[in-house]
Symmetry: C2
Subunit: 343 residues, 2 copies
């Protein structure tokens, strides 16, 4: 039998643990897996494009466990009340090839994106960072705020969005969670004096949400909204004068902010910092950028984390359990068997 | 919600319809999809190899529907009571990227393989074929026998396997199903006078299950056991003097019997015959070979068929249903929501 975790169980799991405790736990799994980066088989994602969007399969495995995520990207979905990005994932046993877990990953992806942002900031932001500017208050916003609070000690969050309703939504959701939350009047108003700036906007085109005049020495920029070819958030001059960190360089060169830069623009893969191979931030005035596009390894960590936390529960009969592997027909369709089951 | 079909429901569905009626229905779906072959986006399969086996993701889509199959291949699995090959599949809506169906595909793959064999034989075997030789009586055997009976009018089946127990198993499973079933003493004994010969052996190495001296003019050879690099069943001289048909030429050149032949060895893709673009068998004495390795389009057809047949039933909450797509946090983890669900 294959363990199944649907959206209701995932929400209950995270709610019971508490979002912040879950994000801290998940950041620990991410840290452990980033540290053993070279133990993973990183296959390219397999994308099927259509005029309305993309469906992707993202596999990754180590010697013992295989994972993949099914994820779509359909910018027009909100017009019909659907999510732009929905996802589910599977863990399987490398030794037998049998699936072990099928899990919702829409909520889990939001959590792992935020936990990855916080993990990166713990290596790249100034020690003692307390203020977060959150530009773009869509589906990812509250997860970012709580991850930075739980993992990095952020105390104050300044929200900004061109959609006042979305900003009010994020503020209401964050109320009573131990954060000082304010709505800023502009991007500049939000960014001024912030220790960490997250950009999580959904602009399809090449945007310049942040320009060099807004950036202060020592800020850490967590750029997560630019995540596909043609979609960026930062002005190139910010990248030129910052230390830029990425998840998986070949993928980020295509999908990240650095798609705007020459192919030899220097970047550092985050795992090298987490593993202690190379320094992260090198001084209090350095501007650091985490150019994050999401990576299959993060889904692997998230699925491992939720499987361990969930324990036993609902199961799916996705693979037949046979006495004799050569007798598939007899076990499934043999006399009496099928009728027994239909009855 | 996403429709779910597990092994028990699949067995009940096929049992209720009857295996032969199901195979006829499935052959109809396969025929319809092979006819519109060029409407499909055929991505390569994505294989993750380990010392013990392989895990593959096989996607395919047309303008409206996307499908993928998760399938493993672990030759050592039977030693621990597991299947060498187990599979499940997913249908999704191209317009929204949302999953529509999650289904077991171990039984369904056995059925679609047999239905594809029968569909090919209906275009390639001599009209009036009545006798099938079935070399290799593992998990696929009974499905082959019933598909050829239902779709092609086969009346007599001669079994042969080096494993007498597996041969007895197939014979017992086929008893009382309207076929004359005999166990042959050798491959030659089984093949002599047969109209159609299926080879479904599991030999890992380059085998020569069939040699030219055994083959009679006009026979149709359905070679389904050789399906990966290094694994073949037919002597090259059989291929040299036969008309060879394949599913998808680039894949079969690597995985099929024709991996033994030069890259310019002539083959015909089956869909061209099904679509009426090119003739199949051109005379009563011609030896025809269907060099079948399995193709993602067949899984697409099988998932469509079973979805249509199954109708409403069990569902999975694999994707959240939100009032406001920007308010993932509030809907899943907002005050009261998570606790409500956990209670």
């Amino acid at each position: 039998m294959v363990r199944y975790i649907g959206t209701a169980e995932m929400a209950a799991l995270v709610g019971r643990e508490g979002p912040e405790a879950f994000l801290i736990r998940l950041a620990g799994y991410l840290r452990a897996d980033f540290r053993r980066w070279t133990a993973f088989d990183r296959a390219p994602r397999l994308a099927t494009l259509s005029p309305l969007g993309v469906i992707e399969l993202m596999p990754v495995s180590d010697a013992g466990t295989y994972a993949f995520k099914f994820v779509n990207g359909h910018p027009g979905n909100p017009r019909t009340g659907r999510l732009t990005v929905a996802a589910f994932g599977v863990l399987a046993d490398v030794a037998t090839g049998y699936p072990l877990l099928v899990s919702e990953m829409t909520l889990l992806t939001a959590l792992r994106t935020a936990a990855t942002s916080a993990l990166a900031a713990s290596a790249l932001a100034r020690p003692g960072s307390r203020t977060l500017a959150l530009i773009g208050t869509g589906a990812q916003a509250e997860f970012q705020a709580l991850a930075f609070k739980a993992v990095n000690g952020i105390e104050a969050v300044r929200l900004f969005d061109v959609d006042a309703g979305a900003m009010a939504k994020a503020r209401a959701n964050l109320e009573g969670r131990g954060l000082s939350v304010t709505c800023a009047k502009s991007v500049a108003d939000a960014v001024r004096g912030a220790d960490i700036v997250t950009t999580a906007t959904a602009d399809k085109a090449r945007a310049k949400i942040l320009t060099p005049d807004l950036i202060e020495p020592g800020q850490h920029l967590n750029a997560i909204g630019g995540d596909c070819p043609g979609k960026t958030e930062l002005h190139v001059d910010i990248l030129r004068s910052a230390a830029v960190f990425v998840e998986y360089e070949p993928q980020t060169r295509i999908e990240g902010e650095i798609q705007q830069m020459p192919a030899d623009f220097p970047v550092t893969e985050l795992w090298r910092v987490i593993a202690g191979e190379t320094p992260g931030r090198t001084g209090p005035d350095q501007v650091t950028v985490f150019d994050s596009v999401g990576f299959a390894l993060e889904d692997f960590s998230a699925l491992r984390c939720v499987r361990d936390l969930a324990g036993p529960g609902p199961e799916l009969d996705l693979v037949p359990d046979l006495d004799d592997p050569k007798d598939l027909f007899g076990a499934m369709l043999g006399r009496g068997r099928a009728l027994d089951r239909a009855a």
